[in-house]
C-alpha cells in the first residue's frame, strides 16, 4: 500500500468510539461521554470504577484537544473539573462512594456556580471503607444534596451497559441545558458487567465553548465571573430564588422512568439501576403464571417520578420497593403515595449482597397473596 493510499484511508475520526461493541459499563460511560463531546477528564483511582479512569487515560489523548489528568486526590480532581467546566469544556470525573464523599465540597460549589459537568458514582458498600461490592447506600447523598447547602444534582440511574453510554450523553445534555451538575448513580454490577453497546446510537456532539465561560478572546466584553459567593443575604436570596425556579422548571421537564407491565398490576414494584434488572426478570416470570405485577423503574432519581408513582399507586393493592440499602429511595416512594395510603413493603439487601431471583420472588409472592404481609410491611419510623 502506498503512503498516499494509507493517508487517504486514514480515518480522521479514528478517535471516536463507534460500532457495536461488547463493553464493560465503566468503559461504555466513557465512550458515550466522548461521543457527547466530553474532552476532559480528571479523576483518582478507586475500585470499582478504575476501568473508567483507565479508559480515559488513553482515549482522551487521541481526542482533539483532549485532556486527561490523574489528580493527586478526589478533592483536587473535582476542582480541576470545576476549572475546565468554567473554561467551557464538557468535562467529567468518576469515583466510588468514599471518593464521591471527598468530591462533595467541589460539587456543592459547582452547583452554586451553575457549571455543567458529569460525575459518575459507581457506588460501593459503606459507610467508611465498607467493601467494594455493589450497593445503593449513596441514594440520599446523590438526590438530596450531598454537599453543604441547598442544591440538587440531576441524577441518572442506568440499568444496562448500553444505558451507561446513553446516560453519559443524556447527563451532559441535561447538565448543559440547565447549567447544573449531573450524576450517573450506578454500582459495580453495571460498572463491571459486559454487555453489547450500540455506540452509533449515541449522538455525536461537537461542543462549543459557551458565552458565559471564562477564557481568552474576551476583547469587547465584560469580564466573566464564576463564583458561588453572595455576601449580602438579599443578593443571596435573589440567587436562591433563581436557582429554585430553575429546579422547579427542571422537575417539570425532565422526569424519566420506565413502566413495565403496570397497566393492570395489583402489586407495583419500584426499583432502580441494577436491582431493577433482577426485579424485572421476576415480574416477567410471575406474569407468565398470571400474577398481575408491574415494575416502575425511575431513570431520573432527581427529579424523581413522584407524579407517575402517585397515579400508579392509586390502582394497586400494595407497593414494594427493592433496594440495596437500609431504605433510602423508599422514603421517596412514601412521599409519592402519602395522599392515598397504600401498604408499602420494603425488601432490602445489605452488606454488598446482590439480589438473587429468590430474594425478589419469595417476598413478592407473599405480598401478592397478602397486601398486609407483615414480614415486609414498612412504615416511617
Amino acid at each position: 500500500m502506498s503512503q498516499m493510499t494509507a493517508e487517504a484511508m486514514k480515518d480522521d475520526l479514528a478517535w471516536l468510539p463507534k460500532g457495536r461493541q461488547l463493553m464493560k459499563g465503566n468503559h461504555a460511560v466513557c465512550a458515550g461521554a466522548i461521543r457527547a463531546g466530553c474532552t476532559a477528564y480528571f479523576g483518582y483511582p478507586i475500585t470499582p470504577q478504575n476501568e473508567a479512569i483507565e479508559y480515559m487515560s488513553g482515549a482522551l489523548l487521541d481526542v482533539p484537544n483532549g485532556i486527561f489528568l490523574q489528580g493527586e486526590s478526589e478533592v483536587a480532581s473535582i476542582n480541576m473539573v470545576m476549572g475546565a467546566a468554567a473554561a467551557g469544556r464538557r468535562v467529567m470525573t468518576s469515583s466510588s462512594s468514599p471518593g464521591i464523599s471527598l468530591k462533595q465540597e467541589g460539587i456543592s460549589y459547582i452547583a452554586m456556580m451553575e457549571l455543567p459537568m458529569l460525575v459518575m458514582n459507581v457506588v460501593r458498600c459503606g459507610p467508611g471503607l465498607g467493601n467494594i461490592a455493589p450497593h445503593q447506600g449513596d441514594y440520599f447523598q446523590a438526590v438530596k444534596g450531598g454537599g453543604h447547602g441547598d442544591y440538587r444534582l440531576i441524577t441518572l440511574a442506568p440499568a444496562s451497559v448500553h444505558e451507561m453510554a446513553e446516560h453519559a450523553h443524556l447527563g451532559f445534555e441535561l447538565a448543559c441545558k440547565w447549567r447544573n451538575p449531573a450524576m450517573i448513580l450506578t454500582d459495580g454490577v453495571i460498572g463491571q458487567m459486559m454487555e453489547p453497546v450500540d455506540l452509533d446510537a449515541i449522538p455525536v456532539v461537537d461542543w462549543k465553548k459557551p458565552d458565559w465561560a471564562m477564557g481568552v478572546n474576551r476583547t469587547g466584553r465584560k469580564p466573566n465571573l464564576v463564583t458561588s459567593i453572595w455576601l449580602d443575604p438579599e443578593d443571596m436570596a435573589q440567587k436562591h430564588l433563581e436557582i429554585i425556579d430553575k429546579y422547579e422548571r427542571l422537575k417539570a421537564a425532565e422526569v424519566r422512568f420506565e413502566e413495565y407491565m403496570c397497566d393492570d398490576a395489583e402489586v407495583l414494584c419500584v426499583a432502580y439501576g441494577s436491582v431493577s434488572r433482577a426485579v424485572m426478570g421476576t415480574v416477567r416470570k410471575l406474569r407468565e403464571e398470571g400474577m398481575k405485577i408491574g415494575l416502575l423503574r425511575p431513570i431520573t432519581l432527581w427529579p424523581y417520578p413522584y407524579a407517575t408513582l402517585r397515579e400508579l399507586a392509586k390502582k394497586v393493592k400494595s407497593v414494594v420497593t427493592y433496594e440495596m440499602s437500609w431504605g433510602q429511595m423508599i422514603e421517596d416512594v412514601a412521599l409519592a403515595t402519602r395522599l392515598n395510603p397504600v401498604p408499602l413493603h420494603f425488601v432490602p439487601r445489605h452488606g454488598g449482597l446482590t439480589f438473587n431471583p429468590n430474594d425478589v420472588e419469595t417476598p413478592l409472592r407473599a405480598i401478592y397473596a397478602n397486601p398486609q404481609n407483615s414480614d415486609t410491611l414498612w412504615e416511617i419510623s
Binding site: 483536587a76 467551557g88 464564576v226
Partner: protein
C-alpha cells in the same frame, strides 16, 4: 462605589491641553476602591500584578483564581475573568482552566492559610506537575478574614487568637517555608520571596511577578512569588508598626530572594 468615583471624575475634568497622562490606574484594575484594612498590603500587591499585566499586554488573556481569605473578592478589583475557588483548591482549579484553555495566562492568588495549610496538597502537586500557572502567595503569618488565628506561617512565639500563649513549636511545629519547599520540585521554573512592607520591596515584588508571568508565557513551568505582608488589624499593630514588623521579624524567619530560576540554572 465605581459609580461614585466616576461621578467625582465627571465633576473634576482632567486638564487636556498641554498635559499628558504620566501615571494612572492600571487598565487591569477597574474603578472599584480597595476594601482592604489599613496596614494591609493586598492592595499594593494587586497593583503590582495589574501593572505587570499592563506592561506585558496580557489583560485579555488573563484568568484569575480568587481564594478563600481576605482576597476572596479579588475579582471586585481586577478587570478580567475570575473564578472564586474553594478554600485551598485554587491550584487545582487553575490546572483545569489552564489545560482547558492553554492560551490563558492563569493567576492563582492565595494567602497562607489557603495555600500552605488546607491547600498544601494542591499547591505541591500543581508545582510538581509544572503547571503553567503563576501563583502569588500572600504570606502575612496569620488568618486575616476569620479574625487572627494561627497560620502555618505564624512565627515561633507569635500570639494569635488560637495561640494565646504564643506559637509553641512543640505543639504546632515551626513556620512552613513554602518557596524553599517548592523550589526543590523539578516542575517549578521560578520561585521568589519578596516583601511588600516598603517601596523597595514593592518594586522587587512587581518585578518578580512580571518575571513569573513572562515565564508562564514562555511555557517554562510553574511560577510562584511569595510576598511577605502585614496584617495590622489582627496583629494589633498600627499600619506603620505592622510594616516595620514585617521588615524586621518576618524577614528574619523568611529570607527574601530567588530560590529557583530555571533560566539562571541554564
Amino acid at each position: 462605589m465605581s459609580d461614585a468615583i466616576n461621578e467625582l471624575r465627571a465633576e473634576v475634568p482632567l486638564p487636556q491641553e498641554g498635559f499628558e497622562v504620566v501615571y494612572q490606574r492600571p487598565h487591569s484594575l477597574n474603578d472599584t476602591q480597595f476594601t482592604y484594612c489599613p496596614g494591609c498590603q493586598h492592595g499594593q500587591v494587586h497593583l503590582c500584578i495589574a501593572e505587570a499585566i499592563d506592561e506585558l499586554e496580557i489583560k485579555d488573556r488573563m484568568i484569575g483564581m480568587a481564594p478563600v481569605g481576605c482576597s476572596v473578592f479579588a475579582y471586585w478589583f481586577f478587570d478580567f475573568d475570575f473564578i472564586s475557588c474553594p478554600h485551598g483548591r485554587a491550584p487545582a482549579v487553575a490546572t483545569g482552566i489552564k489545560r482547558a484553555d492553554p492560551e490563558a495566562i492563569v493567576l492563582s492568588y492565595q494567602g497562607d492559610g489557603d495555600l500552605a495549610s488546607i491547600g498544601a496538597a494542591e499547591i505541591v502537586h500543581a508545582a510538581n506537575r509544572g503547571e503553567q500557572i503563576t501563583v502569588v502567595f500572600i504570606n502575612n503569618a496569620i488568618y486575616g478574614m476569620t479574625g487572627g488565628q494561627m497560620a502555618p506561617t505564624s512565627l515561633e512565639g507569635m500570639v494569635t487568637s488560637t495561640s494565646p500563649r504564643g506559637r509553641d513549636v512543640s505543639i504546632a511545629g515551626k513556620p512552613i517555608h513554602v518557596v524553599e519547599m517548592l523550589s526543590t520540585l523539578s516542575g517549578v521554573a521560578y520561585a521568589e520571596r519578596t516583601t511588600a512592607h516598603d517601596p523597595k520591596g514593592l518594586i522587587k515584588t512587581k518585578k518578580a511577578i512580571k518575571k513569573a508571568f513572562e515565564y508562564q508565557m514562555e511555557g517554562l513551568g510553574f511560577t510562584i512569588v511569595e510576598v511577605l505582608c502585614g496584617c495590622a488589624i489582627n496583629t494589633r499593630r498600627t499600619p506603620k508598626d505592622s510594616a516595620a514588623w514585617v521588615g524586621e521579624e518576618m524577614n528574619k524567619v523568611f529570607q527574601v530572594g530567588v530560590f529557583k530560576d530555571i533560566k539562571e540554572e541554564g
